[in-house]
Symmetry: C2
Subunit: 195 residues, 2 copies
């Protein structure tokens, strides 16, 4: 007879659920993970889950926050804009390696229903705007005289993020070759443009 009287509450319960979520994510992948399945695995019911997370995407994001080993990005300052971009992309590549491509793809597809592309990457990183990293890089480059100005339209400042998302969705990973090509063929020409 399996006795089970005590009810978990609050953080203990949340922990159990997120553990189960992480578990299921490894076992079944994002697409095949279901709220009901997680509830069952955590020995609770979906009612409890829906009280805390509105949908699968949020639940998985929460689990990622707990187990994904995510580290906040830091603003690179290598002395050249190219070096900064390389460093930034390196940080992002490291982050992405922690996620299976399928998870990211599923997450993005789900979030796409509610969010704009530009916001997607941020949400993978606890709301840290990628822009807040790129802008200081541009400030430094402008201060060094490497580029003509530090102020660029939003569409341009967010370009690194756009390229990145596209790359990750197209390929599974973010190869070094891809990083270099994006930087040398696209980003640097854009920021070095003489206008």
């Amino acid at each position: 007879m399996t006795e089970k009287k005590t009810r978990r509450r609050g953080q203990a319960l949340v922990d159990a659920i997120l553990t189960a979520t992480w578990d299921q994510l490894q076992q079944k992948g994002y697409q095949n993970l279901t709220i009901e399945g997680v509830a069952k695995a955590a020995e609770t019911t979906k009612t409890v889950l829906y009280r805390r997370w509105p949908d699968k995407a949020h639940l998985v994001i929460a689990a990622l926050g707990k187990f994904g080993n995510l580290t906040p990005y830091t603003v690179p300052d290598t002395g050249t804009l190219r070096g900064d971009f390389l460093n930034l992309f390196g940080q992002l590549a490291a982050f992405l390696e922690r996620l299976k491509g399928e998870t990211l793809r599923g997450l993005l597809a789900d979030r796409l229903q509610n969010l704009e592309v530009g916001k997607l990457l941020n949400h993978a990183n606890q709301g840290n705007e990628l822009k807040e990293i790129v802008q200081p890089m541009l400030d430094h480059a402008a201060a060094r005289g490497e580029i003509a100005k530090a102020e660029w339209p939003d569409r341009v400042v967010t370009l690194p993020g756009i390229l990145l998302i596209n790359e990750v969705l197209s390929q599974q990973d973010l190869s070094e070759a891809a990083q270099i090509e994006m930087i040398d063929d696209i980003l640097l020409p854009v920021f070095h443009a003489d206008n």
Copy 2:
């Protein structure tokens, strides 16, 4: 007594279903359109629909093909690369105006599960690769001596498409100001880069 003996078959049936699909799409939008709902509206059953289209996305794409008034893009040749891009983006903007943003967003999100971003736009246009339009533009520009070379990495040639998709997903539409900014701030600097 509503008599209904005759069974529709083949094209007649397909037409009825796609008409119902188009109808439902207007009434409920992509997200709230359901296969069962379309089946009911077309006075048939979902079994019949699943025999022809594997999922909602394909069904809606078929309806778009029939009622979306899509026209194939033509290769611009205005005499300048900038003019060509403007023309191309104009064509795309016209196309996108036929789709509600919500439809495109939903479609993209659904297709994202199975396709890479670069392929997405093509599928909206009967498989015409955007690349097949951009490349001739680059050939012309190179022949004119306007740009240094006609051969660019895939990542660069597909950049217009990436920018476009991102724009459409972020905003509802593709404003003229956005088009100009993408062209002048990003695309032209990239293709004019001296390397």
